[in-house]
């Protein structure tokens, strides 16, 4: 395997990790505040459709991004209403939202575009174009560093850089601001936050809405960055892989980036090579597909370090009277 191949695989790793990373950080905010969210998949799907549809109709990818985020926020609002206001079961609400997205996107796509549940392909300003970082061509002749900078680090769409910038940002917000401290507290001991006179409902809604924005960006990246248009079920389980990454990272931002890069790498390998021949035996492609889930189960089982979720996760908060 030469350097070019390695760079190509790593390059697609970064592209494939981006939606996972955004969705994973989205889940991080929500779950740190005590709201489980298995509806990441649905939010991404909804956003993917609306961003592609609006980007196609208006010809502007930025309006598409806004529409995608808005659609994802509506889903978040429903989740918040069900799980915070009406103290319903957060898992059931997430399941319902996933189905809602999977049905509604195809239904609306068929109604608007009549192309069998797709949007027309996006061209030109309807997509996020690749950004060439400064000096990329100047550095290219330098051995090793040149190609890495020019082909791997440079040449992605803006949302990729946004996603990776979100990692330190998330860390800073959660661990270095008052808002972040309260948000984490509300996921561990909401009664303490309530006693301190801070609104549990408000904080949890804020977290759920941040989750909506990030999922919205993730979906928009899928439909307008990674691919050119919406096709049915295009999220293809990425919301669940993000959830797996979140557990794998034990609800910590930097580790989340590591987990998403790892899972993105597995996807990139599975895309490029079907079965991997290791001489003595062959690793089937299905094993690569299942590996993120297997790793997550192993982590959950606590054989390799224990994943302990936020203590109040999944529990609706009932004010004592």
């Amino acid at each position: 395997m030469d350097l070019d191949t390695i760079i190509q695989v790593l390059d697609s790793t970064i592209r494939l990790s981006t939606p996972l990373l955004l969705a994973c950080l989205a889940g991080l905010f929500s779950e740190r505040a005590g709201i489980f969210d298995i509806g990441l998949e649905g939010k991404m799907l909804m956003s993917a459709f609306f961003s592609a549809a609006v980007a196609f109709t208006t010809g502007s990818v930025w309006l598409g991004l806004l529409a995608g985020v808005a659609a994802s926020l509506v889903m978040s609002a429903i989740h918040g209403l069900a799980s915070i206001t009406f103290r319903g079961n957060q898992l059931i609400s997430g399941v319902a939202l996933n189905f809602l997205a999977s049905g509604m996107t195809v239904l609306i796509a068929q109604d608007w575009f009549s192309q069998g549940g797709r949007t027309p392909s996006l061209i030109g300003a309807g997509r996020f174009s690749e950004i060439t970082l400064p000096l990329a061509e100047t550095f290219r002749p330098i051995p090793v560093f040149g190609p890495i900078y020019a082909d791997l680090i440079s040449g992605h769409s803006i949302l990729v850089y946004v996603a990776f910038a979100c990692v330190p940002l998330t860390w800073w917000v959660l661990f270095r601001t008052r808002f972040g401290l309260r948000l984490r507290a509300v996921g561990e001991a909401p009664e303490a936050v309530d006693t301190a006179g801070i609104s549990v409902t408000g904080l949890r809604f804020a977290a759920v809405m941040i989750c909506g924005v990030l999922c919205g960006i993730a979906g928009a990246y899928l439909a307008t960055g990674l691919q050119a248009g919406f096709v049915r079920e295009m999220t293809a389980g990425r919301g669940y892989i993000a959830l797996a990454a979140l557990i794998f990272a034990k609800w910590r931002p930097w580790y989340a980036m590591g987990a998403c890069l790892l899972f993105g790498f597995l996807q990139a390998i599975a895309l490029r090579y079907q079965n991997i021949d290791l001489g003595a035996f062959t690793v089937p492609v299905q094993f690569m597909d299942a590996l993120p889930y297997i790793l997550t189960v192993v982590i959950l089982a606590g054989f390799v370090g224990k994943a302990i979720p936020p203590r109040a996760g999944g529990e609706p908060y009932v004010k004592e009277r």
Binding site: I78, V297, G302
Partner: protein
Amino acid sequence: MDRMPAWADAVLVPLISIILAAFLSALVILAIGENPIEAFKLMVEGALMKSSGWGYTLYYATNFMFTGLAVAVAFHARMFNIGGEGQAMIGGLGVALVCLYIPFPHWALALIAATLGAAVFGAAWAYIPAILQAKRGSHIVITTIMFNFIAAAVLNYVLVNMLRPKGAMEPATAGFPEATHLPTFFDMFGSPENPLFRSAPANVTFFIAVAACIAVWVLIWRTRLGYEIRAFGHSETAAKYAGISPTRIIVITMLISGGLAGLMALNTTMGEAERLVLNAPEGAGFIGIAVALMGRSHPFGVFLAALLFGFLYQGGAELAFWANIPRELVTVIQALVILFTGALDNMVRMPLERLFLALRKDS
């Protein structure tokens, strides 16, 4: 004191939730420029007004009874088994192995063996998440989701590399032998003069599903184990105090739940396709969630809800065929049912409770 009479809790709350879901579904149909009343007529026409329509409705309902019961049993122990889909896939593997490799003289023997195969494989797939929940505290919802994906990969591998006949392109097993053919409703009730249920896939498995409903009712409300499951579901600490082992209840409940989900494969794999294909459950494992929520985890409720979803599925197929409404409409309806009867339950319940309290004060 109860805030609401029992009948209101069992009938009124779900009824209002379903009316809300139906109302929103009608709005969705309106929004895509179709007439909801016409659409409903088409669905009734296609699903209930001819015997072959019933044949499909009951076929789908059979699937949903199994998966609905699977979710319902777990709900009684306050566990959310979201892995019915994966358990049904692996159950299908059990059915396929039994049907392909054991020569049967008669379909009845094949059915008994396949029932065991489906239940054992489905239960085995639920066993690992169960034991991880019981011993290591890994959240059962997350592990069962992961196991759905792992099941899909396992099945894909087994079909492509092991069970696929030589030279075939499609990842599916060979057709099952003639002797394992289950009598369809047409074989049982139809005749050349009176072609009832012609070419519809409903088959003898339907009666197994009905029997499973009764068996689950007996289990939950008439046996010691059922009592322990319900006690554990109401309060884990109280159950522990009463000497009920949480590990035992979690594992046994999940085995029953997984076995029930696995049984679904009898209907799809042995009854309809007569071979094992990729993605045989086609989402029925998830519809079980809606069915169990709507049926209030009661076997009779599950039975009714499964019939309703069977009707929606067959009606939805008719809509896609005769009107410009994609099948995904059913997915939307399913989502709304789960949302209103599951997650937004309190939205309906709280005002009703207040209403009943006010009425009680007056009298």
